[in-house]
């Protein structure tokens, strides 16, 4: 087996490039808010669902529409919207789970009058009480999407889309498992890039990409160099900046587990292929695989998940990534901190911002943390 690391160099400077190409061919493109919306619903109707992405550009005109103390994701997307950089989307869909996302879409709706908007709202307590609510909301959403696409979304089409998306998630999980089992074969930035590329291109194409990559990964040999084993937690709605991921690895960290949104969380669970498709999507909302701090999950919460996976993966410490101003993270973190301290798990918090002045502070923090856990402190 060869030992050369696979470098993917996935270019996501222009994440909507493929969507624009397909739009020219007549595809209806739907921009979908991140986290929990079932993209299969759009795919089954012949539309192209694309998860909205944070831009790499600084927020300029957007400052006149959303205050600077909103999270970087919402400000960036609003900025793109008011600068006509979201015109690729015929429709924007909001699966409302966060008040900031709601304000983002309320603003876009006023500023993008030529674009259609579909709204649905998720109950935030994971409880059987809300099963029929979610089912009803999905049903209504389906009707709205059918109207926009001008065609019925049949059960057969939806079942087919579910199978396709499940396949994509399985393939991506296989890549993640290989990367964890063989440290060094794939950079963290490429893993995250792979997940993000899957969010913005047709799943059929992404599956082909992954199917080509997996044999290469299997042929590679793991690096003999062992790093400080870290679990990367949090960072909802958008990707951790690749420069930070590079820093972790350059400074001697080895990612043994993650629950980042643009990481394992996006592909953590599948929809049932035996239940009727709308019921399958309903049940998936209640079983996303990784508990989310944006929801109340009384039976098995995010902190329970982290503790179990830290043990399973042999992580020496947890790096909690928090998007600045992210409400769910701000409100979950204090309890998580208590849990880490009670269980004697080393942890650090990295608060990320859309506008990055310098990575030096982050570098110092990461370096200190990795040195600490390597010493076994």
């Amino acid at each position: 087996m060869t030992s050369t690391k696979i470098r993917l160099d996935i270019n996501l400077e222009d994440p909507y490039r493929r969507a624009r190409e397909l739009k020219k061919e007549g595809k209806k493109v739907f921009g979908v808010s991140p986290m929990h919306f079932p993209e299969e619903l759009i795919h089954a109707g012949g539309g192209l669902p694309v998860v909205l992405q944070e831009s790499t550009e600084p927020v300029t005109y957007g400052l006149a529409h959303l205050y600077p103390f909103f999270c970087g994701f919402t400000r960036s997307v609003v900025d793109m919207g008011v600068r006509n950089k979201l015109d690729v989307f015929d429709t924007i869909v909001l699966g409302d789970l966060c008040i900031q996302l709601r304000h983002m879409v309320k603003t876009l709706k006023r500023q993008m009058p030529a674009t259609s908007f579909v709204y649905t709202q998720w109950p935030l307590e994971i409880s059987e009480r809300f099963h029929s609510t979610v089912r009803g909301r999905l049903q209504r959403c389906k009707k709205d999407i059918e109207q926009l696409l001008g065609r019925e979304i049949t059960d057969d089409n939806l079942a087919q889309s579910i199978r396709l998306y499940n396949q994509n998630r399985r393939l991506m999980r296989q890549v993640i498992d290989l990367a964890r089992a063989k440290p060094g074969v794939l950079r963290a930035r490429d893993l995250v890039g792979l997940v993000e590329s899957g969010m913005v291109m047709p799943k059929e194409e992404h599956n082909r990409m992954l199917e080509g990559l997996i044999p290469q990964l299997k042929r590679k040999r793991a690096s003999s160099k062992q790093g400080a084993k870290v679990y990367l937690a949090g960072h909802l709605c958008m990707a951790v900046k690749v420069e930070i991921l590079d820093l972790i690895e350059e400074l001697g960290g080895q990612v043994v587990w993650d629950d980042l949104y643009t990481g394992s969380r996006y592909v953590a669970s599948d929809a049932s292929e035996t239940l009727p498709p709308m019921e399958a999507l309903t049940q998936r909302y209640f079983n996303l695989g990784i508990p989310c701090p944006s929801r109340m999950e009384p039976k098995y919460g995010w902190s329970d998940y982290i503790l179990d996976r830290v043990k399973q993966a042999g992580a020496q410490g947890v790096m909690v990534f928090m998007v600045k101003q992210c409400g769910p993270m701000l409100l979950y973190y204090p309890y998580l901190k208590d849990v880490f301290e009670r269980e004697s798990i080393p942890y650090t918090v990295i608060v990320t911002e859309h506008e990055v002045v310098s990575f030096e502070q982050v570098k110092t923090r990461i370096q200190a943390f990795l040195e600490m856990i390597q010493r076994g402190a």
């Binding site: 959303l66 309320k106 006023r110 409880s127 809300f130 609510t133 944006s294 409100l331 973190y333 208590d338």
Partner: protein, 413 residues
């Protein structure tokens, strides 16, 4: 130039608040189960009618901030990992609950009994759920979530109301099972009836603010908020608003304003800067500026109450409350306020830690100022953390607003 002339009767609300918290402490000492309510203020009648004492956490935080008792709870919250960007109400409330016994003994208002059960809603803000989950995990208590549909389309109002009614029935069962007390329908209806009477008085008083000069400012309404937060459904709430209405009627007859020398009439969007409540009200008055209307004071609190259908009343208010409405509705509503109350300018309070209730403000300022040709500014501050308040910035913004009003008046003349 101007001088603050606050209503005497609004202080009755403040006194009602003190009595409320004392009654709460006594009830907890007796062993009554205590219910914490996050966000879902309007459900308090259902809890009160079962003789279960409750804490409305948002109001507690506002109360502590207004009385300048928020600093130590904030410090404790900081130590526990609540970053400063966290909702101030959460930081103050959770900081208060995490105070040591030694700290609590220093200030009566910090002696808040722990919860035996919790009610939350996601109605106007998703963060109530996460805050509630934090409480649930720390205190290991049963919790009930009221999921309130956001009115993306106005036509969904009735369906949303019916959906909330069905949940209120479930909540009733939750309350009975958890507290082992029974709901008293007659008492609930009476509370709603009292609420209706209080609201009628309140509405009448608010209408009087259309007069020039206005007999009250939003700071008078804010001082009296105890009547809503803590005394809703009690006879004293009716008494407070009746007293305010009567005092205001007398002022209207005498053409006496809440700002002596009223020169500018303003509309305020957003919540109150509680730690700077007094100084800000005086500052505005000194400039001859009377804040005569506010979406927060007019639209956040219970309006239509029908004792014949208490659950529907409660549900209707949860669905129809101002922050649960779409942007077009909010813009039209505020624009109408400005017209009805002869407003010269709009001030938006950009509260740094409450993104829920100020996210619409940039669009609101743009839309309302274009529609009515009145100037709008925002001041960056916060509902509870005084460290986010810069007096110099507020002065500059106010000065700019009033200069713009003067300039437009010259052009019109």
């Amino acid at each position: 130039m101007g001088q603050s002339n606050p209503l005497r009767s609004s202080r009755l609300g403040s006194q009602a608040t003190d009595r409320f918290y004392e009654d709460l402490r006594q009830a907890a000492k007796k062993g009554d189960p205590v219910c914490w309510i996050l966000g879902a203020l309007i459900t308090t009648p259902m809890v009160t009618s079962m003789d279960v004492p409750w804490v409305f956490a948002d109001a507690l935080a506002a109360h502590l901030a207004a009385r300048h008792q928020q600093k130590r709870p904030q410090e404790v919250a900081d130590e526990k990992g609540y970053l400063r960007e966290t909702c101030s109400y959460t930081r103050i409330h959770m900081g208060c609950t995490l105070l040591s016994d030694a700290d609590r003994k220093q200030v009566m208002d910090w002696q808040v009994p722990n919860p035996d059960l919790v009610i939350i809603t996601d109605g106007c803000c998703s963060e109530w759920v996460e805050w509630g989950d934090d409480v649930r995990k720390r205190f290991n208590v049963p919790i009930f979530t009221l999921h309130v549909p956001f009115l993306w389309n106005d036509k969904d109002r009735d369906e949303a109301t019916d959906y909330v009614v069905s949940q209120l029935k479930e909540m009733n069962t939750f309350l009975e099972d958890t507290t082992h007390r029974r709901q008293d329908p007659a008492k609930l209806a009476e509370i709603i009836s009292m609420g209706r009477q209080a609201q009628d008085m309140r509405s009448h008083g608010q209408q009087l603010c259309r007069n020039v000069p206005s007999p009250a400012t939003i700071f008078d309404w804010a001082t009296a908020l105890g009547a809503v937060f803590n005394s809703w459904g009690k006879p004293e709430s009716v008494g407070i608003y009746k007293a305010m209405k009567e005092e205001m009627e007398q002022r209207v007859a005498r053409k006496e304003g809440a700002v002596i020398g009223e020169k500018y009439r303003l509309c305020w969007d957003g919540m109150i800067v509680w730690p700077e409540f007094g100084p800000l009200s005086k500052k505005l008055a000194s400039l001859g500026a009377n804040v005569v209307a506010s979406a927060y004071m007019w639209g956040f609190f219970p309006t239509l109450m029908d004792p014949r259908d208490p659950l529907k009343s409660i549900a209707w208010n949860m669905v129809d409350v101002w922050p649960n409405r779409n942007l077009d509705w909010q813009i039209n509503h505020v624009a109408q306020f400005c017209e009805d109350y002869k407003v010269d300018g709009l001030i938006c309070h950009a509260h740094y830690t409450c993104r829920a209730l100020c996210g619409q403000q940039m669009e609101l300022m743009d839309a309302v100022s274009r529609k009515l040709n009145i100037p709008a500014v925002f001041v960056e501050a916060d509902v509870g953390d005084e460290s986010f308040y810069s007096e110099a910035q507020v002065d500059t913004r106010l000065q700019a607003l009033l200069e713009m009003i003067d300039a437009r008046r010259k052009v019109r003349a």
